[in-house]
């Protein structure tokens, strides 16, 4: 096993997680539960393929993907913020809706129940090991970028206040509603980019192609204690385990199913506070007023 190829593969696998987890951090820090990352990712993947297919340009696909994620995130935002629907239930529903909508349009546009036609992607030079894909670089940079936004900008300060003590924020004139809408929209766009990367990397959309990556991203958010850099580290950790499993495929040292379990088991351990407590933002999941 070549360490360089291990690292490059690990990074490639981590990109969708990095995008989605970074988006999840923003929304959850603002106080909105983000079980929806899976659905945002899936919709981004499909919209990207749709856009690339009809325009021939993967960049158009990227924009379409972001739009797809944005639309779903706005549905989530309106239901939970304006109508105060239960955030967990809506989260589950968004994921189901994304599966349904992508399937429906897959059939409508591409007349298939399982996959779209092949589309152009980025990069493609084997020797570059994926690093000629601009989305990959974007994915590497997204976590530090989100960290910057959260900790170094006024908007980030308001996000943190909205998620910990919304009344305090309201009392100084900050519109918690507006902050939350923007935060959820960001999470939609970023998570969708994770799906865009996935789809364009595979050059097609397949039914339910995100396969639970959105939940691994949420695990990374929790395991990383809602900090963008720590969540990114968690993404790399989970990706490393996955890479390990792939590269050890033949050797049966540890069954692949157990490697699969790692992110989820680690998250449960984090929640149980066995290795330090994972304390969520205080106002997470509650929309008062």
């Amino acid at each position: 096993m070549n360490p360089v190829s291990f690292v490059t593969q690990m990074i490639r696998i981590a990109i969708p997680y990095l995008f989605a987890a970074s988006g999840g951090v923003v929304a959850e820090r603002a106080g909105i539960v983000s079980l929806t990352l899976e659905g945002f990712m899936l919709s981004g993947a499909f919209a990207a393929v749709l856009g690339t297919n009809y325009s021939g340009s993967p960049w158009v696909g990227v924009l379409c993907g972001m739009l797809g994620g944005l639309i779903f995130s706005l549905i989530h935002a309106v239901a939970t913020i304006r109508y105060r629907a239960d955030q967990v239930v809506v989260g589950v529903a968004i994921n189901l809706l994304a599966i349904g909508v992508t399937r429906f349009f897959l059939k409508l546009f591409f007349a298939s129940s399982s996959n779209s036609p092949r589309v152009a992607g980025f990069g493609g030079n084997i020797k570059a090991a994926g690093f000629d894909n601009p989305l990959l670089w974007l994915g590497i940079l997204v976590a530090p970028f989100v960290a910057f936004v959260i900790y170094k900008t006024p908007f980030g300060l308001r996000v943190r206040a909205a998620g910990e003590h919304p009344e305090a924020a309201e009392s100084v004139g900050v519109s918690v509603t507006r902050v939350r809408y923007v935060a959820v929209a960001i999470s939609g766009i970023l998570a969708a980019l994770g799906g865009v990367y996935l789809a364009l990397d595979q050059h097609q959309f397949t039914d339910q192609m995100t396969a639970g990556r959105g939940f691994i991203a949420i695990s990374a958010v929790i395991f990383g204690r809602w900090d963008p850099i720590r969540a990114a580290a968690a993404c790399l950790l989970f990706a490393a385990a996955e890479t390990l499993q792939i590269q050890l495929q033949g050797s049966h040292a540890i069954p692949s199913q157990f490697i699969e379990m790692i992110p989820y088991a680690l998250t449960i351990i984090a929640l149980a506070g066995v290795v330090g407590r994972a304390v969520p933002p205080a106002a997470l999941g509650k929309v008062e007023d």
Partner: protein, 541 residues
């Protein structure tokens, strides 16, 4: 005076500082900094403000006093733009600002320092201060350095010293309050409203705060101090406005009055509901058996910030007597009842009922030992609002209404019909959800349940709060009947009249201790009032 000038209160254009162009020199006719008149505000059935008024001159420290529920906080929330009045006018520096928003109030220089701090615990002092008006470099980056510098500068100017990098969660209560004050000053507040600022402070911190307030006043700020602590009213204020039951009762210069008179105005001369109905003390049931009833020894309970909310309290309640605890809310009464009921853990001390130590017992097992509890918050604790009246009447005793794990609905209904009849609960429908009943009837459900089961000691906390007059009489009669039957009752009430009318002995709770315990015959509003507000300190009998 009904109606507001100018409609919605959104002032168009104009001078943000709120000073109108007046031809008259202000020294001749000092313009009030704040003028509120005829303010009405209701929340559902509760009338928090009824024609209340307030006039505060610039540059003075003005105390707004009254008991809990007098309407002080509501009035200030209206001033601060957190809510709009149903009727009445608000003027700030001569400008009509009725119904304005929080942002407009902040821009005009009003700063409210809330009783429950509006600070984000996970953020630093500087972050909390600049939230909403963050300094930026190059338009997007938060200029932390400038924020810290600004905070330090203001800190030094006002003498409210606090390091900008410290996290709110690491601060003491007094320090956190300093940050709250800095927060409003940071936004240019010239009129400060402080809501019960010393309620959570220790004596040295209180004195520090007074120094700060005096300094601010000397620098030209106008301060409204909402409080029920008369010692600080006397020490600090220039003028006092007394509120009672939503109305403004009196406005008076501090130098022209005495603490006793202020207390009398605060507590008032309302119709004593049980006037003249004092039942002669019946003989103590069971004779001088010393272990019957409730006994509390050296009870100490710590609060959320590690302070002692109950500090070494000892007392007993004998069978056939009512011990009333008077005192302004917030002096530990709530925590005392919770600790006795098993809803709050005890730091030190013992609790015994009929000789049995129940200090470590669960709520259910305290019921078994003969304890009943009418909670002060019937909506949160006392009733399950979505449950029917019948089901609420068995809360806590459901095991006595079941056999083999199944609830005997016949007996539940029978019990419900009986209690509804005895307690005249209206509407008399046992299948109604509890939330459909009026406050008085809801309380009757709680009382019926708690007094309907076999008990030897009853904890009655604010038993007639929010209850109509007829129900109040009824509940009082129930308490007196229980007393005649030889039960021991611990009554906690913020209504002094209630305590005076019902109790055999009266204790006053002040800052977690019993300031005094005396026979009811020796007590009166004046005497108790002074203990309640801390001007008199005795030794607990």
């Amino acid at each position: 005076m009904k109606g507001r000038e100018g409609g919605s209160g959104k002032r168009e254009g104009g001078d943000q500082s709120g000073i109108p162009a007046s031809p008259l020199p202000s020294s001749l006719f000092p313009l009030p900094a704040i003028r509120m008149e005829g303010i009405d505000k209701s929340f559902g059935a509760i009338r928090a403000n009824r024609g209340a008024s307030l006039e505060v001159l610039p540059g003075e420290i003005h105390a707004l006093v009254g008991e809990n529920g007098a309407g002080k906080s509501t009035l200030m929330r209206i001033l601060g733009g957190l809510m709009k009045p149903d009727a009445g006018n608000v003027e700030v520096n001569g400008r009509d600002v009725t119904g304005w928003s929080t942002n407009e109030a902040i821009a005009a220089g009003i700063g409210i320092v809330h009783q429950h701090f509006m600070l984000v615990p996970t953020l630093s002092v500087a972050e909390n201060l600049v939230l909403g008006c963050e300094p930026k470099t190059r338009g997007i980056v938060l200029d932390y350095k400038r924020a810290a510098d600004d905070v330090r500068k203001l800190s030094n100017e006002t003498g409210l010293v606090i390091a900008p990098e410290r996290l709110i969660s690491d601060l003491s209560v007094g320090e956190a309050q300093r940050v709250e004050i800095l927060k409003v000053l940071f936004r240019g507040a010239r009129i400060l409203v402080l809501d019960e600022p010393t309620a959570v402070l220790s004596p040295p911190e209180v004195r520090e705060l007074w120094t700060v307030l005096r300094r601010l006043r000397d620098n030209g700020a106008t301060i409204v101090l909402i409080t029920h602590r008369l010692d600080e009213v006397v020490e600090l204020s220039d003028t006092i406005t007394v509120m009672r039951a939503g109305q403004t009762v009196e406005r008076i210069k501090t130098s022209n009055t005495t603490p006793a008179e202020i207390a009398r105005l605060m507590v008032g001369r309302e119709v004593s509901l049980s006037a003249g109905k004092r039942v002669q003390p019946s003989g103590r049931a069971g004779g001088p058996q010393s272990d019957k009833g409730l006994e509390v020894r050296n009870l100490s309970v710590t609060g959320s910030r590690g302070t002692r909310v109950i500090d070494g309290v000892s007392f007993s309640v004998k069978p056939g007597e009512i011990l009333g605890i008077a005192g302004v809310e917030g002096n530990g009464q709530t925590e005392l009842i919770e600790a006795l009921a098993g809803l709050r853990s005890v730091f030190a001390g013992d609790i015994l009922i009929d000789g049995i130590d129940i200090t470590r017992r669960s709520v259910a097992r305290r019921h078994d030992a003969g304890l009943s509890h009418i909670p002060e918050d019937r909506h949160r604790r006392g009733l399950i609002l979505e449950y029917t009246v019948a089901n609420n009447l068995i809360l806590g005793v459901q095991k006595y209404f079941s056999s083999n794990g199944i609830i005997d609905r016949g007996r539940v209904m029978e019990n419900a019909m009986r209690e509804i009849a005895s307690f005249d609960i209206r509407p008399p429908n046992p299948l109604l959800a509890a939330r459909a009943l009026s406050g008085g009837n809801q309380q009757k459900v709680v009382v019926a349940r708690e007094m309907g089961r076999g008990f030897s000691v009853l904890l009655a906390s604010q038993p007639t709060r929010g209850v109509d007059v007829g129900a109040i009489e009824f509940i009082h009669q129930q308490l007196l009947n229980a007393r005649t039957q030889g039960k021991g009752i611990l009554l906690v009430s913020a209504e002094l009249n209630e305590v005076l009318a019902l109790s055999d002995r009266i204790a006053v709770m002040y800052r977690g201790k019993f300031a005094t315990v005396m026979a009811a015959a020796d007590a009166s509003e004046e005497v108790l009032g002074e203990y309640m507000i801390g001007t008199k300190k005795g030794s607990a009998a």
